[in-house]
């Protein structure tokens, strides 16, 4: 089960991700994110505070989102990772690819507005 709740702060999309992202729902997750993102968004912040599990298929979906944003000079930021989720990002090296912030406010602050 994965739930994505989005809100727009000017041209930044904030997405609260709740539950798990694994092979069984990764398509649903990708779809939810893709439809929420607008071409004019210059950044997407994924809030993982309530994310309890992410599989490699989930990481790939995050990577695909980051790549498609990058292709038009937009950014993907992650924030509020639990210890377990942070560990998954650290082991795979994804923490070196994607900016990770302790909180949504700090993620927002890192984008000069």
């Amino acid at each position: 089960m994965v739930n994505v709740t989005t809100e727009r702060i000017d041209d930044i999309l904030s997405a609260d991700v709740e539950g798990r992202i694994d092979g069984s729902n990764v398509v649903q997750f990708e779809e939810a994110v893709r439809t929420a993102i607008e071409d004019s968004d210059r950044a997407v912040i994924m809030n993982f505070e309530k994310l309890v599990y992410i599989s490699s298929a989930g990481l790939r979906a995050i990577l695909l989102t980051a790549k498609s944003l990058q292709n038009r000079d937009a950014k993907l930021l992650l924030c509020s990772l639990s210890d377990r989720i942070r560990e998954v990002f650290e082991i795979s090296g994804f923490d070196k690819i994607l900016p990770i912030h302790p909180s949504k406010d700090e993620a927002l602050a890192s984008l000069d507005r």
């Binding site: 599990y53 490699s56 990481l59 795979s92 090296g93």
Partner: protein
Amino acid sequence: MDDEPDVERLVRQRMRREIRSGQYEFVFAGNGIEALEQLREHQDIDMVLSDINMPEMDGLTLLQQIPSVDPNVRSVVVSAYGDMKNIRTAMNRGAFDFVTKPIDFDDLRITITRTLETIELWRAALESRDKLVVLESELSLANRMQQSILPTTFPETDQYQVFASMEAARDVGGDFYDLLPMEGGRIGLAVADVSGKGIPAAMFMMSSRTLLRGAAIGQSDPSKILREVNQLLCENNDTAMFVTLFLAVYDPATGELVYANGGHNPPVIFRSDGTFSLLPTTDGIALGIFPDISFRENTITLAPGDTAILYSDGVTEAENDAGEQFELDRLYDVFAEAPPGDARTATIDVLKAVTAFADGAPQFDDITCLTLWRGGGRG
């Protein structure tokens, strides 16, 4: 079709346009027995239009017989107006529809069109089902191919032992391990996990493994091998597939283990004195994402009786029904009583512990464990 000969003439006349254009083709039979013969002879018949009252074999009996000749034929019965009893019997015996006498040809046209449309849908569904059956058998073949590329014979000398096992989840794709013989009696040990599942993951896994083997020819620095594999995987990887890969090169003569890590779970070292620790991290990013990156190497030495356990996240993230994960602590617990005494038993003990923990809960990830044990310890 009918007991009255003039019906044939009537149909030929009223449907002449459809017959001439080749839209419909009619075959006529005087009774049920003749109808079955015609069905056998003309296997391209889609629909039977039949009177209920016929000599020799009536329409209701015919309805029962048709499926044994061609189960995909649809039948429409012609009945007297208001003869609900026979109509109900016909429907219960599998008739698709009915029309009433005297035949209203506009209504019959609609009925024929509707019947043929249904047959077409049915055929399409059958075709899809057949394709699915083929796909499923191809998937299971892919599964077997994947399993068959995994080494099943392992070095077992006085100096050292290796043993590995992969329990595949239901879908293809995911983990693999490999043993790479290298010069100077050294051996490369790899455990890897491809993102996602299914055919794309299986194909990515196959190419990862082939590239790994290729890169390891004439090269025994784990960091350089990972760099090359990464480089090749990054080419044309629009799908953002990636593989986490831990690679160590072990020298049985010295116990030296040189390793580099492409974003894979860090192996655990169990020392012969009962202590244990994660291999010091060398950082590193999963392969296939960023070209031109370098990997850091580290070296440790296994003393006699020491063990290195390589695994995939299918071990640490195995779940039980309560949604708890196996995690590293339970892996450490496997050898809480005594450090591993040989590679095979250690591997099997880890997998058994995971199975016992999961207690029948379905696992969605491949479970891989590879054990390297240095012999000669503890007297």
